[in-house]
Amino acid sequence: MTSKFVLKLYVTGQTPRTERAIQNLRRICEQSLGSQYQLFVIDVLEQPHLAEQERILATPTLIKELPLPVRRIIGDLSDTLKVLQGLDLPIPRTGGTQE
């Protein structure tokens, strides 16, 4: 990976779903990106104006700001394959059947 990833994860409070999303994301990033990423976790209950700015409706929502194109992934990120697709990351051979 040449360019650094900037990821923002919008969550609502300290819920099990929030915890799951953070854990899933960290696992995927560490496996595929090593340390080449920055992750910001934003709690919309504490900073609703940021959710307003980004027009977030669902939580958790992950926004990949860099590298372009900007992309949104909604959910607790338990579907690893979808997350990798969304982040434009290569899919490990064991993971899928195509690409």
């Binding site: 609703p48 977030i56 409706l57 669902a58 992309r71 992934i73 607790d76 579907d79 969304g86």
Partner: protein
């Protein structure tokens, strides 16, 4: 002012939407969510926006508009054409958008379970920031298309509704319907806001569009039942026409006013009643416009303010006719006692005519009003819409202590009843028929007071003539029978005496 939502008595919040609070017996249930459902183009967004606009304009209550469909810029522009300056209200922190409209060109993927916690957080934050008492969400259907999992959306909307209730916010949510008469809403959204449901319809009936509003249910509190017509006017927004439902407790007095014709006053037992509506029915050219002209002139002579709505003739023609009968409309208008409003019926829908007419009546404050003719207005409406129009106009006029005269045109020259007459004869207090009578190769004119509620009246069919001083009512047609049915039969004087003998002399008895 907050109140306990668990209290048994549900209070109403006056929406301020024209006419709506009357059919809603005060307004929408306060602190609750009301679903407003309708097909595409049924004015749901207008209702949702007006709910907030009237709150700001009339009650100084702030509002949050959550949009799932159109971006705020579109709503600002569209509602601007109705006369609401949303941008200014936003600057004043009285109106806030929560923009949940889809963003074009942005890819969204789904990877696992989610909720709409951010939406709820944004709504709560917006409500707190401006101290909102009202909230509108438009439309629920659009949020279902943004999120694939319908069950999640339903559950989350339920959470939003309960959060709003907790905050004491009165909310309106709009929902889509696929048919005018079918399920309440698509996606089964009614299940969680089913406490209160309002249906908006936009039905094509006899090639004419008809908008109606129906309150389907208000849980635990009352409302008027059935469909009520409404219209959308520039500068006003939605205006509901509450019809007779609330207006049937009219005053009625026994104060008499002149018809403008001494002989006719005599036939009616001393003139028309002030708070009554009189229908004049007759074929074209029988003298209906003359009667309205005399009715106006009679009022002006007594210093009354008179208002004439003319839908058949141009102003010039009307004034020329009047002059021909010795009435100077020009001078009367100049003196400020008369106002003549000429309109083509086709310029607007009947609901719009009604609202415009009510406004003119309210502004001019006349003592008497004439409409010439109702039949012309009937052309631009459905039978049902027309009946509602007449009911609404009649009760409005009676409420103002105004004497009213409507005319109706019969299709056949010699007799029979007019279409208009059949639809509205029960709504008017008095009916006068004008007829052509064929007598030995000559067309003469006849007049009779068919009905006069609450008064003795002349039962004769009298002949009348028209000259440059107006209408002159003469003797009864004693030698003709069958005038009203359009088949006059001439009978001999001997036969008349024999018939009179059969029934005795009941010339002036009875009432309408």
């Amino acid at each position: 002012m907050s109140h306990n939502p668990h209290q048994s008595a549900i209070e109403k919040l006056a929406t301020g939407i024209g006419g709506f609070d009357l059919i809603a017996n005060g307004g929408v249930p306060e602190g609750r969510t009301t679903l407003v459902s309708g097909t595409a183009g049924s004015a749901k967004t207008v209702f949702a926006a007006q709910f907030l606009a009237e709150g700001i304009r009339k009650h100084n209550e702030h509002g949050v508009f959550v949009t799932f469909e159109e971006p705020p810029s579109d709503i600002r522009r569209n509602m601007g054409s109705l006369g609401w300056d949303i941008s200014t209200w936003e600057k004043e922190q009285r109106w806030v958008f929560v923009d949940a409209s889809p963003q074009p060109g942005e890819e969204v993927m789904f990877a696992g379970s989610y909720d709409l916690g951010a939406l709820l957080a944004r709504i709560e934050s917006a409500v707190r920031r401006i101290g909102a008492r009202r909230l509108s969400m438009d439309s629920l259907g659009a949020i279902f298309t943004q999120f694939a999992d319908g069950a999640v959306v339903r559950r989350e909307l339920f959470r939003v509704a309960s959060a709003l209730k907790r905050m004491g916010v009165t909310a309106v949510m709009t929902g889509e319907r696929t048919q005018e008469y079918g399920d309440i809403a698509r996606y089964g959204v009614e299940e969680f806001v089913a406490d209160n449901v309002i249906i908006l319809r936009n039905v094509l009936e006899d090639e004419k569009r008809r908008r109606t509003i129906e309150i389907l249910k208000f849980r635990g509190t009352s409302h008027q039942k059935g469909e009520f017509p409404f219209t959308i006017m520039s500068g006003e927004g939605m205006v509901v026409i509450p019809l007779s439902a609330i207006e049937l407790k009219q005053r009625s007095s026994d104060i008499r006013v002149t018809s403008g014709n001494v002989e006719l006053d005599h036939m009616c037992g001393g003139g028309f009643f002030r708070d009554s509506i009189l229908l004049v029915s007759g074929a074209t050219g029988t003298g209906k416009t003359l009667m309205t002209t005399e009715f106006m002139a009679g009022g002006v002579r007594r210093g009354e303010r008179c208002l004439l709505f003319a839908f058949e003739e141009s102003r010039e023609q009307l004034f020329r006719n009047a002059t021909g009968w010795g009435v100077d409309f020009e001078q009367m208008e100049h003196d400020g006692l008369l106002r003549v409003v000429c309109e083509y019926p086709e310029t607007a829908g009947l609901e719009d005519h009604l609202i415009a007419m009510k406004k003119i009546i309210t502004d001019f404050r006349p003592n008497r009003v004439a409409v010439d003719s109702l039949s012309a207005l009937e052309r631009v409406s459905t039978i049902r819409g027309f009946r509602e129009f007449v009911i609404s106009l009649t009760s409005f006029i009676k409420h103002q202590e105004i004497a009213g005269m409507f005319t109706a045109t019969t299709p056949s020259l010699m007799g029979g009843e007019s279409v208009t007459e059949t639809h509205i004869s029960t709504l008017t207090d008095s009916i006068i028929l004008l007829r052509y009578v064929e007598m030995y190769g000559e067309m003469r004119r006849g007049l009779t007071v068919l009905k006069m509620r609450g008064s003795m009246h002349d039962k004769d069919i009298r002949e009348f003539t028209i000259d440059n001083r107006g209408m002159h009512i003469g003797r009864p047609f004693r030698q003709v029978t069958g005038i009203l049915s359009g088949n006059p039969i001439h009978i001999t004087p001997g036969e008349i005496d024999r018939l009179s003998g059969l029934f005795g002399d009941d010339g002036n008895a009875g009432q309408g």
